[in-house]
């Protein structure tokens, strides 16, 4: 922000250090896997690895949406409630019309989630409400609407057709269909974020809103867009979630937003905006997935999960800041020489 002329040079080091950071996460994943594998050999089996991937599927889709919002300098706490609301709507629909195709349900999830997210986006972009206040409110509003439309009832496994549950249970080439959905999402967003104008504009808005506005970027549109996308991905994740756990409840994914933020921050996304990569977020999600999967395996009570996640967010955020500051220092040193 202070040294505009050094921007290009700084960006180069940024990408190099982020690469370094991703290597760090990979080493961390390998290390933690080996340690847990020693305590419980079942952890290092292919079927367990596949389980981790299935369990992480919804999380990794959600983290992409959260990453885009965080990159603009905002935060979207409402994702977990959009997930629950869309999941509930999807569950109620397949209960009444079992002939609906799974693909249709997934697209419906995207659209409904996108609609909910764009309402949040309008409030933030046009209503100029601070993101944390807007999304905190929407979190409770959407959660309440979930409760209202369901009348407080659950949708259980036996009420869902096998074709719908097949989104999670059916396999293609040995892998669950959920994993293919994640792959598609990541390929699309890798391209979107890195190779399209709109994608790059998101980073511009996050690095410096004023500068972005001056060079003619419609910052309001970009802000709206990231919330709409995070809503759409939450909706998609909602359908995936309900199919995976074969039940739609009122408190589905309650408190899950912590997990999403943890995955993003672990993946190197900066809370203050402007920094974050799709590949980093994927690694962050897998790390969180591994930790969540490993806790019961090494006989840690599930009650530890909540505190641990908060701790991960805090430590990862501090590490991110330390890395960024070190980088700036080395930058300054190089300039004086």
């Amino acid at each position: 922000m202070m040294d505009e002329p050094a921007k290009t040079k700084r960006e180069v080091t940024f990408s190099r250090l982020l690469g370094f950071r991703e290597l760090g996460i990979i080493i961390f994943i390998v290390l933690i896997s080996v340690l847990i594998g020693i305590r419980n050999p079942r952890f290092l089996t292919w079927s367990n690895f596949h389980d981790i991937l299935i369990d992480t599927a919804a999380l990794s889709v959600l983290s992409v949406g959260m990453m885009l919002v965080l990159v603009t300098g905002g935060i979207d706490l409402s994702m977990e409630s959009v997930l629950a609301l869309t999941g509930m709507v999807a569950g109620m629909m397949v209960k009444q019309n079992p002939q609906l195709s799974p693909l249709f349900m997934l697209i419906l999830g995207l659209l409904l989630g996108g609609l909910l997210g764009s309402i949040t986006g309008l409030i933030v972009a046009k209503g100029r409400v601070v993101p944390i206040i807007a999304t905190l409110s929407m979190m409770y509003i959407y959660r309440g609407i979930t409760f209202i439309i369901s009348g407080g009832k659950w949708i259980n496994a036996y009420e869902m057709p096998d074709s719908f549950k097949g989104i999670a249970t059916e396999r293609f080439l040995g892998l669950s269909k959920l994993i293919y959905i994640v792959l598609v999402v990541y390929v699309v967003f890798y391209y979107f974020v890195n190779y399209t104008h709109t994608g790059r504009k998101i980073y511009a808005v996050g690095s410096n809103v004023e500068a972005a506005r001056v060079i003619g970027i419609n910052t309001e549109f970009i802000t709206w867009l990231v919330y709409a996308i995070s809503g759409a991905l939450s909706g998609l994740a909602g359908v995936m979630w309900v199919a995976r756990y074969a039940s739609a409840q009122n408190d589905t994914a309650s408190g899950f937003v912590m997990t999403i933020v943890a995955a993003c921050v672990l993946g190197g996304v900066s809370i203050t905006g402007g920094v974050g990569t799709v590949s980093g977020v994927l690694l962050g999600s897998i790390t969180v997935g591994i930790i969540n999967n490993a806790l019961p395996m090494i006989r840690v009570s599930p009650f530890w999960k909540m505190a641990l996640q908060g701790l991960i967010i805090l430590v990862a955020a501090i590490v991110n800041i330390a890395i960024a500051r070190n980088m700036e220092k080395s930058q300054l040193k190089r300039r004086t020489i």
């Binding site: 935060i75 409030i123 046009k126 209503g127 100029r128 409400v129 601070v130 944390i132 206040i133 807007a134 905190l136 409110s137 929407m138 979190m139 409770y140 509003i141 959660r143 309440g144 609407i145 409760f147 209202i148 009122n250 408190g255 912590m258 933020v261 921050v265 809370i271 203050t272 009570s301 009650f303 530890w304 999960k305 909540m306 505190a307 641990l308 996640q309 908060g310 701790l311 967010i313 805090l314 955020a317 501090i318 800041i321 960024a324 500051r325």
Partner: protein, 332 residues
């Protein structure tokens, strides 16, 4: 900046208007409530219904300071849970109840201190991320300690805190404590140099730092106060409920922030006062009371509170953006 001279005057005007609006709303909702229930217009009815709501009031007072300096604390609900659980556990471990109450206060203040320490010690670490992580950590610790159990069976005098009346009068004890706290906060914020510094931090933190406001120290104090008030809220809430569980006070952060914002505190900092916030507290209670009379479920109340919060923040923004556009047009 241009309007510097008239700034304080103008601001005072706006505050006055907003508070009158709250008074009108309070009267309006009271009339509706009176129509809905014949028991509404009774001294004990109003006093008791306010008293059971006041534990949130304690949190609102200090949240006002946090919002005025332009920060936010979403960990308060979790601090309430942890303070309550630690208090209950230390009582179960054989400590006298009075000491257990001190434990709750210390826990609250400690958590708040930790928030403040991290925010002021690590530059670039925003209050949002610290308190978000904190909300997971503090409630998480409560879960680690207590699991899905509950602790009850406190001494009988403890329930006096939430349900008792002062002496032979019928003024609830909580009410007296709350009014005391409100007066202290009001004086602190509106009648001391320290209070002016709080506003200065919210209006322009850079200018405040250059004019010698110890930003880090102030933040430290304000977040510690916020934790302490959450500790006080935990004492009264646990006394009201009669037992302690790790999942108490879920969603309080939304309501506390909503009340403060409804009271005229701007979440972007620099605006608001204790009088408005206290009026908003009464308004929110009456709103909830009325919704309770027509059998609105708790989840739906959260929807309405959320809409109120977003609406209150959004409406002035929309109007001011119009005004701003007009002004730029005039200049052109």
């Amino acid at each position: 900046m241009k309007y510097r001279n008239s700034l304080s005057n103008r601001k005072l005007n706006i505050v006055f208007k907003w508070e009158w609006l709250l008074v009108i709303l309070i009267i309006g909702i009271s009339i509706v409530n009176g129509r809905l229930s014949p028991h509404f217009w009774s001294y004990t009815g109003i006093m008791d219904s306010l008293a059971v709501f006041l534990e949130k009031g304690f949190m609102v007072l200090s949240m006002t300071l946090v919002l005025i300096i332009g920060d936010i604390d979403i960990s308060v609900a979790s601090i309430v849970a942890l303070s309550s659980v630690l208090m209950a556990m230390s009582y179960k471990l054989g400590l006298p109840m009075a000491v257990a109450i001190l434990v709750a206060l210390a826990t609250g203040a400690g958590c708040g201190y930790l928030n403040g320490l991290l925010i002021s010690l690590v530059p670039g670490l925003s209050a949002i991320i610290v308190t978000l992580a904190g909300s997971s950590i503090y409630r998480g610790i409560a879960y680690i300690l207590l699991g899905d159990q509950a602790i009850g069976g406190f001494p009988s005098w403890y329930s006096y805190l939430a349900w008792g009346y002062v002496g032979k009068t019928n003024i609830p004890f909580v009410m007296v404590v709350f009014v005391g706290c409100a007066i202290i906060y009001g004086l602190l914020l509106h009648r001391t140099a320290w209070g002016r510094k709080v506003y200065a931090m919210g209006i322009n933190p850079v200018a405040a730092r250059f004019s010698g406001v110890p930003i880090a120290q102030m933040k430290q104090i304000i977040f510690t106060l916020n934790g302490l008030m959450a500790g006080i809220a935990a004492i009264f809430l646990t006394s009201k409920l009669g037992s302690s569980r790790p999942n108490i006070a879920t969603g309080y952060e939304l309501e506390v922030i909503a009340i403060a914002v409804l009271g005229g505190v701007s979440p972007s900092g620099g605006k608001g006062g204790i009088v408005g916030v206290c009026l908003a507290l009464i308004l929110m209670r009456l709103l909830r009371y009325g919704m309770g009379l027509v059998n609105v479920p708790g989840q739906v109340m959260m929807v309405i509170i959320g809409i109120v919060l977003v609406g209150v923040v959004m409406l002035p923004n929309i109007f001011s953006s119009r005004g701003g556009k007009r002004r730029t047009k005039e200049i052109q």
